[in-house]
């Protein structure tokens, strides 16, 4: 497995500035195909569980938190592994989280203002 901090491959010129050296922390160590397949299997199992609990007649108070939990886990797995935020520079994470947190905050306020959760 390639070392995330390895910048000394046989063709690399040590005099050439690397992205890591420039402070970006762009390590670019991406997972192997086997790891991707493992994540995809987990995603498939979680989706099957989502559909399973939808058909199981459980109370709405239990169903909705469970569905949100599964959705958040799937979201995180795709973003961290398939989109490589776990491995890439934190700058990308910051940019994406800025938009995501902005959207979640803004629209939660909107929905609370219009009492969307009261009914």
């Amino acid at each position: 497995m390639a070392d995330a901090t390895d910048t000394t491959s046989e063709h690399a010129d040590p005099s050439v500035p690397t992205a890591t050296a420039l402070g970006g922390g762009h390590t670019a160590r991406h997972p192997r195909p086997k790891e991707y397949i493992r994540i995809a299997l987990i995603l498939g199992i979680i989706t099957a569980a989502e559909v399973g609990i939808y058909y199981a007649k459980i109370s709405r108070g239990l169903l909705i938190p469970a569905l949100f939990f599964f959705a958040i886990v799937k979201f995180a797995l795709v973003v961290l592994w398939f989109m490589h935020l776990r491995f890439d520079s934190r700058m990308y994470s910051r940019f994406f989280l800025m938009g995501l947190a902005g959207a979640v905050t803004l629209f939660t306020v909107v929905l609370l203002t219009f009492k969307a959760f009261s009914g």
């Binding site: 390639a2 070392d3 995330a4 901090t5 390895d6 910048t7 491959s9 063709h11 010129d13 050439v16 500035p17 690397t18 992205a19 890591t20 420039l22 402070g23 970006g24 762009h26 390590t27 670019a28 160590r29 991406h30 997972p31 192997r32 195909p33 991707y36 994540i39 995809a40 498939g44 989706t47 989502e50 559909v51 939808y54 709405r60 909705i64 569905l67 949100f68 599964f70 959705a71 799937k74 979201f75 795709v78 973003v79 398939f82 989109m83 490589h84 520079s89 700058m91 990308y92 940019f95 800025m98 938009g99 902005g102 959207a103 979640v104 803004l106 629209f107 929905l111 219009f114 969307a116």
Partner: protein, 209 residues
Amino acid sequence: MASDIAQPAGTHGAQIQHPVTSTGLPNMKLAMWLFLASDCLLFGALISTYVLYRGSSIVGPYPSDVFDIGYTSVSSFVLLASSLTMVLALSAIQRGDQARMRIWLLATAMLGMTFVGGQVYEFTTFFHHDHLSLTTNLFGTTFYVLTGFHGTHVAIGILMLLSVFGLSLGGRITQDKAETVELIGLYWHFVDIVWIIIFTVVYLIPTGK
């Protein structure tokens, strides 16, 4: 030209080259992440609108009358599978394996087309069989706009995948251009995570009506 190229190594031994930038990161990738952050706001607005008006329709059909969860679940599996083939395409080109990258890119595009085809079939069934149009009720309006925007994103992703596939046939997508595949991959996975939310919020959470 080597003097103005940054070469972060370690991607399965691949050399991803990009010009030195003030952030130390490739500008195109940073721009893609910024675009995706802005797209969060677009889909946030559409999902919020759906949530805001859910259960507010005064005439049918209602979600429980039209949704076929089994069918949509298969569509979800298809889109998840396309995310896997997309990362496998990226992994292949990072190893310099162009043939395998083409296979996985084509597989991703085919899975995307299956998803969009499924959505077209779903819309057609809702429209002709259940008489749910964009103007029938609040559910029809918010549902078609949200899922229609998502479907359009998938369709644009398919065009990008096929474009890269075409470029690769001409030998223009080589190991040092792996970032091109990565950028399209980021867009594709974003479309996938949006569907994860839509599938939960729109299809699986019951409205009570």
